[in-house]
């Protein structure tokens, strides 16, 4: 075996998986995991840990795993993360823990994410549950939003003895993990539900169908329902549109709508009531994870799919693995292309899209080379469906109904990075609601920091 190379992970064949919603990556088995784990050098000063936003003790869990004690490995991870089976699947490891791994200097970095996933899956399959806290201290904390940030903060506070209730607007907890990221990347029933059950097992209550700001306000939670502190983890769910002509035609969807219909409402399964217009010829506008997810979903629903992105391949913000998977499955890419207008037929449906070719100029404020239009390069693609995956911003519902809560010009809640505190006493915030659309693990990191911050605040009150 070449120690410079990682143990390859088994995946569903691209041709087969392009037509089903089953998970693409099949993960390691015990033998493969131990073999891959053995590549870890057990560094004294592990660089990988510094790359993980929740500082999982990576060499320690890998050591236990290599001894064959998966249970001990799981206990190590559980000290730091409440959702390891999720993170092992969706973390952008190549820019976090694995990017710093010393093995990466001369070869492939250790597959930390895949190992974490293996341990978490093994623990679930073997009925392991995180230990329930001894006793509650009777003090109530409310969490808004059951996404990764809210779940993490809730889990940590419950472990410290607080009585935690999460209020979730949708009918199902999980946030983007249930409505955004598709089944074929993150199985809902086996993985997401199971990890949420683990959080509940710590004593956390989850009340679904409650919209803070409408059903009840933050002030009412604190004054009438006895919550001493509140953590806002309401995410960044508001979709952006381009503002080009034709965008309200029938057949134009936000990625959030398309993915919500397919994931949360299970429209891909004919036995569920919610309809979805999958389209036959679909363009997805954007180049991030959301765009890849929408494109690969449309593909699985039977469409011919093209990703339209205004910069070049190098600038694609999506994870490398996702782009690679999308290509393998048959998603087409039209890079350096920008939509100008969506063409509409007489009955109001999309018939095509007028685009222009772009070229890269000087670097802009983000450091990336700025795309500029190539004069006279306009052309039309025929389409029946357009999916806009241009990013999202925080929903103003909570900030507009909570007096004294300061937001910035991007409508993000202003919060202290170290402890999550906001401009309002007793109110903390974190995750996408504060940073704008980011990642699962950063949202979890913010939840952890806020749990500590809330504990300190309540202890000193």
């Amino acid at each position: 075996m070449d120690v410079l190379k990682r143990v390859p992970v088994r995946e569903q064949d691209p041709k087969v998986r392009a037509r089903n919603f089953d998970e693409v990556c099949l993960g390691y088995n015990l033998e493969e995991a131990i073999q891959e784990g053995a590549r870890c050098l057990q560094c004294k000063k592990p660089k990988c840990v510094a790359g993980c936003p929740v500082s999982i003790n990576i060499p320690e869990f890998i050591k236990e795993l290599c001894k064959g004690d998966v249970e001990a490995a799981f206990n190590v991870i559980s000290e730091y993360s409440a959702l390891p089976a999720v993170c092992g699947r969706v973390c952008p490891q190549e820019t976090q823990c694995e990017q710093r791994c010393i093995r990466g200097i001369k070869g492939d970095p250790v597959s930390i994410g895949k190992l974490e996933r293996f341990v978490a899956d093994w623990a679930r399959e073997n009925g392991m549950k995180p230990a329930k806290p001894k006793k509650t201290n009777g003090r109530k904390v409310a969490i808004i939003g059951a996404g990764p940030s809210g779940l993490t903060c809730a889990g940590d506070l419950a472990k410290m003895g607080y009585e935690v209730t999460i209020f979730e607007a949708l009918h199902e907890p999980g946030g983007v993990l249930v409505y955004g990221i598709p089944e074929f990347r993150l199985p809902k029933e086996t993985v997401v539900k199971a990890e949420i059950e683990n959080v509940k097992a710590l004593g956390v209550k989850i009340e679904t169908n409650v919209i803070i700001g409408r059903s009840i306000t933050i002030d009412e939670l604190m004054e009438d329902e006895g919550f001493e502190a509140v953590y806002i983890a309401s995410g960044a769910g508001l979709p952006k549109f381009m503002g080009i002509p034709g965008e309200n035609a029938n057949g134009v969807f936000s990625a959030n709508e398309y993915l919500t219909r397919s994931n949360l409402m299970k429209a891909f399964d004919a036995s569920y009531d919610t309809p979805i217009i999958a389209g036959k010829k679909v363009a997805v506008i954007g180049g991030g994870n959301v765009a890849m997810d929408a494109a690969r979903t449309a593909l699985r629903l039977g469409a011919d799919v093209t990703i339209v992105y205004r910069r070049s391949e190098e600038e694609l913000p999506a994870r490398v693995e996702e782009v690679h998977h999308a290509k393998e499955e048959g998603v087409k890419f039209r890079l350096l292309t920008n939509p100008k207008e969506i063409l509409v037929n007489d009955s109001g449906w999309v018939s095509g899209m007028r685009c222009i070719e772009m070229e890269l100029g000087e670097p802009d404020s983000s450091g990336r080379r700025k795309p500029i239009e190539k004069a006279g390069s306009e052309f039309v693609i025929e389409l029946d469906t357009v999916i806009m995956a241009l990013g999202t911003s925080p929903n103003p519902l909570i900030s507009s109904t909570t007096e004294g809560l300061v937001t910035n010009k991007y409508r993000c809640i202003v919060a202290n990075e170290d402890d999550g505190s906001t401009s309002k006493e007793g109110v903390f915030a974190g995750g996408d609601a504060v940073t704008g659309a980011a990642t699962v693990i950063l949202a979890m990191g913010a939840g952890k920091a806020a749990a500590k911050g809330i504990d300190q605040y309540l202890q000193s009150k």
């Binding site: 409408r214 009840i216 549109f241 029938n250 969807f253 709508e257 919500t260 217009i277 036959k280 039977g302």
Partner: protein, 300 residues
């Protein structure tokens, strides 16, 4: 599994052919809801999220009243639920409350208000009329429908409105003509004057009322019911063009200044899952996504 179904049906009435009223136990919604807002109901695991306007509420009993017309697959399935059954999910209140509620008292006091309800639109109109009366305002209300059998909530509305005008397209009850004809009749022939009209009903009705009231120079408020999914501002399915802005009906509305709404676009969008073209696309999808073992396309 059954414990998950916690929103119990406390009362059910058939108001007209295929139109039902239900009181649902939902204390959290009941406590903070107001006329003009709506809820989203999900029957069971496989159900879709169905938006319905709040028709009444009883804060002591912790119930919310909804009225719906069984027109499609989901609402027909809902009509089969009986007293004692329960829905899995019931979320709300959603959207803003009626703009009249937030209008300063001095301003609203000297306004003459007419409510215009078309078909099931009587359901969202009723709580507004009731609220106006209970807060000391005298308003008129017009109820229009295709024919007599579809006039609903007339008795309840009569309790709270100063004058109630009924009209039917086929003349089987009340004024013979649609709501636009009836509005013209009130203003031109009966010497009525209004400063504000609140029109709620099918989009096509609201469109024509707005064309008329624009001519007449009467401020008009409409309540929009585009296709929705989450109802919290997350999907953009409910987007409308209002003036030159894009608005999400679920969080910015559902009420808007009727003279600014682009109804033609809204009507087209609301047909997305209903028109022949939409259905054809759906059928196509169904064929393409059946990949269960044993299905012929599975072999390929």
């Amino acid at each position: 599994m059954e414990d998950n179904y916690k929103y119990t049906i406390m009362n059910k009435e058939k108001l007209a052919d295929s139109i039902y009223l239900m009181d649902i136990k939902a204390p959290r919604v009941s406590r903070n809801c107001y006329p003009g807002q709506f809820i989203i109901l999900k029957m069971d695991e496989k159900g879709e999220r169905i938006p319905l306007t709040i028709c009444d509420y009883n804060r002591e009993a912790g119930t919310v009243t909804i009225v719906f017309q069984a027109i499609g697959s989901s609402t027909k399935r809902m009509a089969e639920y009986e007293i004692g059954d329960a829905f899995q999910d019931f979320t709300g209140p959603l959207g803003h409350r009626s703009v009249l509620i937030d209008m300063p008292k001095e301003e609203l006091s000297d306004k003459k208000v007419l409510f215009v309800a078309g078909g099931v639109g009587a359901a969202p109109v009723y709580p507004q009329v009731k609220w106006m009366k209970e807060n000391g305002y005298h308003v008129d209300c017009m109820i229009g429908a295709r024919s007599k059998n579809y006039i609903i909530l007339e008795e309840r509305i009569k309790k709270y409105a100063a004058n109630v005008y009924v009209c039917t397209d086929d003349g089987s009850y009340g004024f013979n003509g649609n709501v636009c004809d009836c509005i013209k009749d009130l203003i031109h022939n009966q010497g009525k004057q209004y400063d504000i009209i609140v029109a709620i009903g099918p989009m096509i009705m609201m469109k024509f009322v707005c064309i008329l009231t624009k001519e007449l120079g009467i401020k008009t408020i409409v309540s929009m019911n585009p296709v929705m999914v989450d109802g919290t501002g997350m999907c953009g399915a409910c987007r409308l063009t209002v003036g030159d802005e894009i608005k999400f009906a679920c969080v910015d509305g559902p009420e808007f200044d009727g003279h600014l709404v682009n109804f033609d676009e809204a009507i087209k969008r609301s047909q997305m899952y209903k028109t022949e073209e939409g259905k054809a696309i759906l059928r196509q999808n169904e064929r393409d996504t059946h990949h269960h073992p044993g299905c012929e396309c599975h072999e390929r």
